[in-house]
Symmetry: C2
Subunit: 360 residues, 2 copies
């Protein structure tokens, strides 16, 4: 099969052996697969990505010296049911899945695994037990957005909100947009979103942000404080209290950037008593001044990925139109275009989510 292979720092198109489904696996033909910010990071900072992934445990088994095929946000079509499957999904069925597959009870990651090609290849060996059929009437390509949108669902679930919160989302790439969607699904208002990119701020508004802030022009934290001030109260009084007392409404902030320095800026800007959910995946060392978090008694909740229930629920939300993902798809490329797409995604103004279509 053809695949966009990450090989010693470069993405090249090459031919690999077709995967052979093992016990309980289904061979699928990849229809579309999104490019994730973590793919960009793994390609650009391979050594640190591999080092941190290895030292922190988990299922990223990628190394710097072996070929790897990225791609963990996919929709695919069943080609053949392998040995020991129940045949629940006839050939032609459109499916998605969490980016994991199984051999027996052993779980294998898909996307950063040199032993199993991800969604930037023509075929994948998925676990029948983990497949979710794409509901009738849903645009199949939208199922490739389930994975990134589930990240937002999980982050907001783990925030354990009471319902009265004022929310600030820092960073409006796909992760931030997913968080905005999940907040609005729970009725959290207002949701304030901040990004330096006008295009991303426009997307944030389309996903349901009540207000968008350009951090180059105004402080997102001042906007949060203003929103957390009850009607009829003087925000300047709260600006003063800010130093020692929480504002009246609880505040929750989402870190959706994942680069060094953002967390410290949020610790400095957040109101006392704030909850900060860290969704952006920073794989480099970072510098913080803990006393800011201590003086404000801040709660930092680090989250990753999603549960199977959150993933399935997100598919239902998208299928029912409760999360409108169409505006997020800003580009489509074949395998030959993956290398350029990685370069294009480094400029956030131009792109949000690019889908790789291996059969294009």
């Amino acid at each position: 099969m053809r695949a966009a292979v990450f090989r010693r720092g470069e993405i090249v198109v090459d031919t690999l052996p077709d995967p052979v489904p093992a016990e309980g696996q289904v061979l699928v033909r990849t229809r579309a697969c999104g490019i994730c910010g973590s793919d960009l990071h793994a390609a650009r900072f391979t050594d640190s990505f591999v080092d941190v992934a290895r030292r922190s445990g988990g299922r990223y088994t990628m190394t710097a010296d072996r070929d790897v095929v990225f791609g963990h946000e996919f929709v695919a079509e069943v080609v053949a049911n392998g040995p020991g499957t129940a045949g629940r999904f006839p050939p032609g069925t459109l499916v998605t899945s969490m980016p994991l597959t199984l051999t027996g009870t052993t779980v294998h990651g898909i996307g950063y695994n040199p032993d199993i090609a991800g969604g930037f290849a023509e075929y994948m060996p998925l676990a029948e037990r983990m497949l979710l059929p794409v509901p009738d009437g849903m645009d199949p390509d939208h199922a490739a957005l389930v994975e990134p949108m589930a990240v937002g669902e999980h982050a907001v679930e783990e925030a354990r909100l009471g319902g009265e919160e004022v929310a600030l989302v820092i960073g409006c790439g796909p992760v931030g947009l997913a968080v905005i969607a999940a907040l609005r699904l729970r009725g959290i208002r207002p949701v304030i979103a901040a990004d330096f990119s006008p295009a991303r701020r426009a997307l944030a508004a389309r996903m349901g942000a009540d207000a968008v802030v350009d951090p180059a022009a105004a402080s997102p934290y001042a906007a949060l404080l203003e929103a957390a001030t009850p009607p009829g109260h003087d925000p300047s009084r709260y600006a003063q209290l800010f130093r020692t007392s929480p504002p009246r409404r609880p505040t929750v902030l989402f870190e959706c950037v994942g680069v060094p320095g953002v967390l410290q800026a949020m610790l400095e800007g957040a109101p006392p008593g704030a909850r900060i959910v860290v969704v952006g995946v920073c794989m480099e060392p970072d510098r913080i001044e803990p006393f800011f978090a201590i003086a404000k008694q801040i709660e930092l909740r680090f989250v990753l990925a999603y549960t199977p229930e959150e993933f399935a629920r997100t598919l239902e939300h998208i299928a029912a139109g409760r999360i409108a993902v169409a505006p997020l798809i800003t580009g489509r490329v074949g395998l030959d275009g993956v290398r350029q797409a990685f370069a294009d995604l480094a400029r956030p103004e131009a792109q949000a989510k690019i889908l790789v279509e291996p059969w294009r």
Copy 2:
């Protein structure tokens, strides 16, 4: 009055004007006042202490160029009720208080405030509203331990435990010992405590730690994992699962050191799903690798000080003997001995809590 004054980097004994109680204030005579680790830090790293305190807000109004009298863990005797007081506490009454005083409704910190001398001086102007009388039969000096012990009460309260947790306390100075006491009061078992100092490990055991670990000889995190493994299960299996799955019993870890590097070590060592409560007050920049927290979905809760209720409850616990603080008092000095006591406290093997007795 006489006071141990921190002046341009040195502690000197000098004579200051006696405080004059303002409206609602009571003049008290300091009986004893503990030396806190934050006092040592403020003396040794004055510029960074002042800078971080200022930038992060709060009530530390100390500057590098003005004299300041430290001391915020005190027991005192009422000398005179000032104007506008209700006279609730006749002269001679032994009292303690949170280290704050009031003029009208304005709150002033005591301990890092160049305008109000703290407990390393002979007299203080406290707010009548905030005074708590020392219960009959209580060793008065034990009331000087209410403040540091309340820090542990608050930290454990903010940990919002369910009761099934296995706890690990990193650092067995006064803060760690206070956390151990508060955990045991809630019936949390086992409590594992780690410190490089044999004397501090012995104190941890006296405060109720079920197990103590010397990090130079064994991993406190391995001990935590072992304790979180249910009976009849194989800890080596959990050691393997460690990379991706939480152990069976929830784990809570308390950072009670407050120096750079400890937080990262805890992020690396903690099991997946762990809650880490940061009680140690680190006032320097720190380096973390956020991906460890992300991969394990760790919750970090930064806490500071205590509520008035927690402070009052801690006084009751000590008075009733539910927290035995006598072993923590390892030294007593007069004002002339404060300078040497600061030096001695830098060697944790020798000392835990030194009480300053201004009238000694």
